[in-house]
Symmetry: C2
Subunit: 387 residues, 2 copies
Amino acid sequence: MKNFDFQCKTRLIFGENSVKELKNMISGNYKNILLHYGGGSIKKYGLYNQVIQILGKENVNVFELSGVEPNPKLSLVKEGIKISRENNIDLILAVGGGSVIDSAKAIGIGAKYEEDVWDFFTGKAEPKESLPVGVILTIPATGSETSTGSVITNEDGLYKRSLRSNEMRPVFAIMDPKLTLTLPDKQTFAGIMDMLSHIFERYFTNTPNVDFIDHMSEGAMKSIIKNAYALKKDPQNYNARSEIMLAGTIAHNGVLGIGREEDWASHKIGHEIGALYGETHGVTLAIVFPAWMKYVYKVDIDRFIRFATKVFDVSAEGKNKNEIVLEGIGKFEDFLHRIGLPTSFIEGNLPTDKFELMADKATEEGPIGSFKKLFKEDVANIYKLAL
Amino acid sequence: MKNFDFQCKTRLIFGENSVKELKNMISGNYKNILLHYGGGSIKKYGLYNQVIQILGKENVNVFELSGVEPNPKLSLVKEGIKISRENNIDLILAVGGGSVIDSAKAIGIGAKYEEDVWDFFTGKAEPKESLPVGVILTIPATGSETSTGSVITNEDGLYKRSLRSNEMRPVFAIMDPKLTLTLPDKQTFAGIMDMLSHIFERYFTNTPNVDFIDHMSEGAMKSIIKNAYALKKDPQNYNARSEIMLAGTIAHNGVLGIGREEDWASHKIGHEIGALYGETHGVTLAIVFPAWMKYVYKVDIDRFIRFATKVFDVSAEGKNKNEIVLEGIGKFEDFLHRIGLPTSFIEGNLPTDKFELMADKATEEGPIGSFKKLFKEDVANIYKLAL
């Protein structure tokens, strides 16, 4: 186990009708609130009205910035920073999924920084403080509601870059599983792939002696898979929605990464697909991960055997190591297919002619990943494996 | 799953030589520090000198209060409150195990309360604020380093009472597994029983649909058992010490209890043994838990089957439900014996003539527990089962 320094300050308010707790989170604490959201879905299902009603009863000024899209854009972040500065915003209230929260986080650190917020995403500067960000979560997936991360796309060159900072953890996250009952299948299951990937990026490590967190991660993965099948059978299953919503948070609050080197190559490899074709993040991960696993497993075949046997219940009997691992990856692909996700570019109806360009962009700041360090050629090979 | 509101603010600084990070925790943040510890062990192994040296280089005033014993006493807490008030203490630095931390927490809330601190433990008042408590942990067991809990014994009547409050979570916890290499076996393994019990008290619940946390709890229990055996074989195994130290924290930071009714009857039943005979907390739990399990399992036999099969790998084949459960409890008792813990009063060399008195005290505020509500007669029966 590696030494670590961990703190997750976010307060979780979880359960049916928990949106009404917004009142207690706000009351007496904030004065000028920037309400940040995406498109019409929060209006369509009444959440927008409910939030406005709660805020209306508090002595606060509400400013609005909507229009966050999947793969949230730097230009909107800059608009949010401008509004925040001009109106002394003291809370950014993100109502939505990961894109909205990531956008709110970037606004939060940008508003407290005099230079260009993109500096943080290129590594030119480190966030020292942020405006508080509060969350009402509508899509369980990215874990952004408690995580340190934000992923923003700079339209000028289609760069999708991620940033991590403890300063960006939201102060509270309100999570009502009922809000997720209306999610379209694609978002539900892409979200599930996203949360699984957050565990994968930590679970596949070369750091030895991380048994306790390994065990907890395996339990988490098994439960996510079990509840994903329950939702495939019945998207209205409130209990499965609850488990999945909680899982998305725990998968990415950082606990499952303590004491170990994390990887994150697959996220970068997937981000280039998202940046180029606007594909949903979780879908890009479903395409990338099986290929990544096949490409890297020999680095530590025993870890992949553990994954195959403990998470996908592969029996080791009468099989050699490669067979066990490949059966595990096969079962993972089967799981993805059964929940309706593609595991290749072709299944995902995506162009297959830009692999070199994407590999170039993914590695332009140097090789990526840590389980196996990947250079441009490696990344291109992984795209080809995912053809 | 039940609705929940969860926040754990404690910053974990974990790993070899992490004590030197104390400097960064203190520097510029605090002025008058109350150093709180137990007896000689932190002096014997050099930790005391190291702490004094670090504090000596900071611009702080250090006050000392030592003498915390197992089952920490209200009288010492009151002395700490007096010192804190007289010297404008702004950080209580607890260096030790659960007793020292619990005592520090009680001082922290007591110093901010004008009436008798015991009011909090009898439910007459609720803590509204606390002096910050920092921790350097030397014994992995109670999880008090991040938990909301404190257990204090009022010598006037030998009442041992516990309190939970978010206000009592420490601000930081420094955890160096190397500090635990010198622990005597009894403390090591009683500590391991203690952390297992913190999972049990949450895992055995009647709240339905808590699959995700169940899975994570089962992983946690399996890893604790595995690493307990590793430490029985070689107490100098640094990696197993690390896993166990981390496990003790996660077992009781509250995450494994979110969304469910918790039980805590066994703790109360064990507390009376501790209050009367001064026995180590973890040892009392080793005596109580197998008996409690046998007494209550029929309330939800399927949950105990899950426990037996997933945590102790009991094969269900060809057995009826009772047999599966009892084999699981048997394996748990076998585990306790193998790590040197008693599972009965007689094995523990404890008197067996005060069961009625203890049952009376354990239930004097009403029936205890939630998995099965236990009245005085039930508690007496459990003591008899543990004879």
